[in-house]
């Protein structure tokens, strides 16, 4: 643990030394500036219902992505989102603590459960881990329903807020997301992150050069579930109410889709993916009426063809991205960026001549 911490400090130092030279800095500053300014001009509804969830899902999708760095995939991350949400709210309500502690303790509680699941799973191949995590997200619903008298998850209950909803909550979320993603970034750049990548690239070889595979997979699992739990606590606050519906498989597929569409195993991928998916989720339903007018007569069995048609396209989109753009949208942006850089270089050369 201490070693990891010194590693983290080391990579902070390295990053700060190199940071001002790279153009990465401008992208990061630009993104932060956009994130800070947009809510000032957006309506209250957009801040509360679109931008805040977008930021929360950035943490959530990044936590999933952190797991993918080590070659593991979870199909049941909703379990940890939900556990974080329930734990953070219940701890605050039952123990009368300030809500800030709730968030942190919710994340830690989720990481604790993640440690238990991880201990059982780190030896498993990708598919079985996916299956077990998915299974866990179903079992947890049964458990929470079974202990409903204590938890009250079936009917749900309102969640205590750390700060007022609207702009204050948005900026708190934004700060937490920035810190979380920065920590994950440093982790990926550290030796631990290098071990993750080595395990993903080739497990037997990583084992041969002395990387303790089970240990690093477990580290990835625990850290990932911590951030998922933190996102869960924030999410429960942002929707004001928590219920067992937070364990729906949809919430397990969301971070996966965001990370894959944005760009798997890149730090910006989940961020881009979250922007894309949340925007689609929030605005695309407006074309439902048009879609129904166009396609409705073809499918007489459904009252509104909009939602299934949109979901179908989302699935198709995922398949197409995986097959034709395996590094996601972020690789496309990199290509565009490189293209422009080449062009400016050419222009410079011509001028010099």
């Amino acid at each position: 643990m201490q070693k990891m911490f010194t590693q983290l400090l080391g990579s902070i130092e390295r990053e700060l030394l190199n940071f001002h030279q790279s153009e990465k800095l401008y992208f990061v500053l630009g993104a932060v500036a956009v994130g800070l300014v947009i809510p000032l001009v957006a309506s209250e509804y957009v801040v509360g219902e679109v931008l805040t969830p977008m930021i929360i899902f950035m943490i959530y999708a990044s936590s999933w992505n952190l797991l993918a760095y080590s070659g593991q995939g979870s199909l049941g991350h909703a379990a940890f989102l939900g556990i974080g949400g329930f734990a953070s709210a219940l701890i605050v309500i039952k123990l009368n603590l300030p809500p800030v502690f709730g968030l942190l303790l919710g994340g830690l509680f989720s990481a604790g459960i993640g440690l238990l699941i991880g201990l059982a799973c780190v030896r498993l191949k990708a598919w079985f881990l996916a299956m077990v995590t998915f299974g866990f997200s179903v079992i947890i619903v049964t458990l929470i329903s079974q202990f409903d008298t204590v938890i009250g998850g079936i009917m749900g209950f309102p969640t205590p807020l750390i700060v007022e909803r609207g702009l204050p909550f948005y900026y708190t979320t934004f700060a937490l997301a920035a810190i979380s993603i920065f920590v994950m970034y440093l982790l990926i750049k550290s030796k631990t992150g290098l071990a993750f990548r080595a395990i993903h690239e080739n497990e037997p070889e990583a084992n041969m050069i002395g990387i303790n595979i089970a240990k690093y997979k477990l580290i990835a699992f625990v850290l990932s579930t911590f951030f998922a739990g933190l996102a869960g606590g924030l999410y429960a606050q942002s929707i004001r109410y928590i219920q067992v519906s937070v364990f729906d498989p949809y919430y397990s597929f969301l971070p996966l889709m965001m990370a894959v569409i944005g760009g798997l195993r890149t730090i910006e991928g989940p961020i881009i993916g979250s922007v894309i998916i949340v925007t689609i989720d929030s605005y695309l339903h407006r074309i439902d009426n048009v879609l129904h007018g166009l396609m409705g007569p073809l499918f007489p069995n459904v009252s509104n063809v909009g939602p299934p048609l949109r979901m179908l396209s989302l699935g198709l989109f995922l398949v197409i991205v995986v097959i034709f753009l395996p590094k996601g949208v972020s690789s496309l942006l990199h290509k565009i960026n490189n293209y422009f850089r080449e062009e400016t270089k050419k222009a410079d050369n011509i001028e010099r001549k």
Partner: protein
């Protein structure tokens, strides 16, 4: 799959539970065997396998309601249709990610789950449907236990399919080629086996088994577009229980599983039905990752 049952823990109640368990187990055995064959030969896991079951149920439903085909003959139509879907899936999607990152298979199957479920909603709507069954309600009365003919016939059909499959794998040339590919795909290529064709055939076979499972599901139980996900996981639990790559293991695993599930529902209540699969899955994976009858863990 929620059934009304008077809660009396009598002998007849337990017998009926066991029969339900075996009949349900049969459906899952077919599904698990399909997954197992595809995994054995191609080293590929299709998480959308349960959605093939769901589409199979709808195909059987459509041919038996729209064209008045006998429910049991519609099983054959469902198998043929799903085999074609399987060929298309293998060619268009899984082929392209085979041999790349293992996670890519998972992503593709997830996308396919969305595609299939919503396509089914568009084509057939969200309401519960059931295939009209000529044997509905009939059965043998043994010691106050009603043994439904439909369930007995389901067990018989699954047995016939499994025997046919066994003969295909052990006695035919293509079965030999499939077994060779599953052991050493590179070497079988050198031996003149066209593994591309074997892959297509294997995937189509697995999908056809899912189609048969779907038609049987639709005959025994009401279904809607969302039923696919849980059978996939149950099939996984069965594969883990029986051991990866072992067909007899899948049969025993399936029966054990069906009985365990129905017994849990009987004694603990309906909400435990789905949790049983995972509890079993996790216990087996932790204690004996190769399964009860596993030849060799992958």
């Amino acid at each position: 799959m929620v059934r009304n049952r008077s809660v009396d823990h009598t002998m007849s109640g337990i017998l009926e539970t066991l029969l339900w368990g075996v009949a349900n187990g049969c459906i899952y055995i077919l599904l698990a065997t399909g997954l197992n064959i595809i995994f054995g030969v191609m080293k590929l896991v299709n998480f959308a396998h349960g959605q093939l079951l769901m589409i199979g149920a709808y195909v059987a439903f459509t041919v038996s309601t729209a064209f008045g085909l006998n429910a049991y003959l519609s099983i054959l139509v469902a198998m043929a249709a799903m085999a074609l879907v399987g060929v298309a899936l293998e060619r268009l999607t899984f082929r392209r990610v085979l041999g790349t990152d293992k996670l890519n298979e998972i992503f593709v199957s997830l996308g396919l789950i969305y595609v299939f479920e919503n396509a089914a909603v568009l084509l057939w709507g969200n309401k519960l449907k059931q295939i009209p069954n000529p044997l509905q309600g009939g059965g043998l009365l043994l010691d106050e236990v009603l043994i439904g003919y439909d369930r007995l016939l389901a067990i018989l059909i699954v047995t016939i399919i499994l025997v046919a499959l066994f003969i295909l794998l052990k006695k035919t040339k293509i079965g030999l080629a499939m077994r060779a590919t599953s052991q050493r795909s590179e070497t079988s290529k050198l031996m003149g086996i066209n593994i591309e064709k074997i892959y297509i055939f294997t995937f189509a076979l697995g999908a056809a088994l899912a189609g048969a499972a779907g038609a049987l599901y639709g005959i025994l139980l009401p279904f809607n577009p969302g039923i696919g996900a849980l059978p996939t996981i149950k099939a996984f639990a069965i594969i883990m229980l029986g051991g990866l790559g072992s067909i007899p293991g899948a049969v025993i695993g399936g029966l054990l599983y069906g009985i365990a599930e129905n017994t849990a529902v009987y004694f603990l209540g309906g909400i435990w039905q789905d949790a049983v699969a995972f509890a079993l899955l996790i216990i087996v994976l932790v204690i004996k990752p190769t399964g009860l009858f596993g030849e060799k863990g992958e």
